[in-house]
Point group: C2
Chain length 251, copies 2
Amino acid sequence: MASQRGEGETTTTPLEPADRERARAIPEAAVARLAVYLRVLSGMADQGVNAVSSEELSQAAGVNAAKLRKDLSYIGSYGTRGVGYDVEVLVSHIERILGLTRNHSVAVVGIGNLGHALANYGGFPGRGFPVTALFDVDADLIGVPVGGIPVNHIDEITAICLEREVSIGVIATPPPAAQSVCDRLVSAGVQCILNFAPVVLQVPDNVEVRKVDLAVEMQILSFHVARRADEAASVSVDNNGLGVDGMVIRP
Amino acid sequence: MASQRGEGETTTTPLEPADRERARAIPEAAVARLAVYLRVLSGMADQGVNAVSSEELSQAAGVNAAKLRKDLSYIGSYGTRGVGYDVEVLVSHIERILGLTRNHSVAVVGIGNLGHALANYGGFPGRGFPVTALFDVDADLIGVPVGGIPVNHIDEITAICLEREVSIGVIATPPPAAQSVCDRLVSAGVQCILNFAPVVLQVPDNVEVRKVDLAVEMQILSFHVARRADEAASVSVDNNGLGVDGMVIRP
DNA sequence: CCGACTTTGTGCATCCGTTCACAAGCGGTA
DNA sequence: TACCGCTTGTGAACGGATGCACAAAGTCGG
């Protein structure tokens, strides 16, 4: 409502009071989708697309059109009725809300298979997330550069994180080490953590943790496999014997 | 209600009708949590713990006790009032509901940094998910064993997935290849896909996709960093100048 | 055998997120 | 300028998940 069209300020980096209040109210689920919209929109911009309707964008993002509009409405009214959205404008506004106008320095702890992979992503997909520090306990790894960054010993976390202003810590250690690493990151002032270790981390209220848990993902899929298998079984009992061989298409 | 205590059948592998009906009704969010409870319980079992109350378990899993009980009630009534839950019993029932009594053969497509890491996990954390096939397009990789499995060319997906009865496909390719790989997996009869590529996959209704999107995770964290920074800024305007240097603890 | 105590299982109220449906607003056209 | 068709933005209905609070059901000690 307020500042609906503020003359020429397109990419004001610090959030204005109105926006700040809005940001507080955006549901987490919507934030996740905004990130997806952003990627789709960036792709469109690269292909020279200028305008897009909620219908088109929602299909490309794999969501309901109404949901998309509501999500966008959380960040303000930047569409034009009867026309759609300007791709560039939307991109810059989503970036602003997601805080992508600043760089977020990332530290990866645990340089095993996964840690290697993460470090080598180099700046992370979609950039804006430069990896500036790597940590491990293995003496053989200390000093070895991975993805251009030398590995430091885990005991140096506090000093280095403060020095390099790390704002996001990524935990890719074995499970037993995760909580202790987490504690050290927290005491180094890191308030956002991405946890790949299959462990439930205990953190103070002012720290945000997101987890990526492969085992859980696999088990959820397993649940669905089992459910399908059971349904198929119960069907092949109901109508005797049909739908057993090879391709079973269920519309 | 029915079969509350069914004599001695502790680990019947095929689901009974009552359970099947239940499984259909379990909310997705609860399934994810069940997987977490399972891990915590397994850890307890390893440490020789026999019984556990909803209070203890919920704390270890980082959730509300009432929610935990409700989640467990979805799979049946296996607790003892006044006492708690038998760890072993709970483990076996959760495993059964999640379909972990069978093995689920996994294929990984895209043997880059991430694919390597995934293949080397070897059977995946929590086992029951043997990786039985690897695919890539890179001629230099074909035939090279990674984590004990030789890499096959991507064109062989259909034949090999059918032959090895792959039930879960993992996509770890670059974004442009993801949809095409997905299509091939689907036509090979794979109905569950774990997608690491930052792409929205289009699949038929009978295929289940779960995505792990690093960029999105990072951006969600970025959003929270920005929100915090803004709040801090607005606070340091309110009370002039306090809480700027070093450690800021907010209870 | 009984009564006190503990913990589960669940009905119910609440909250958050999704979906629907439509008025408001804008561009194009005559 | 006035009308028409299209698309946004959002109020309101809906549905699912969360949390509370308590009855039911079990154990343990006497």
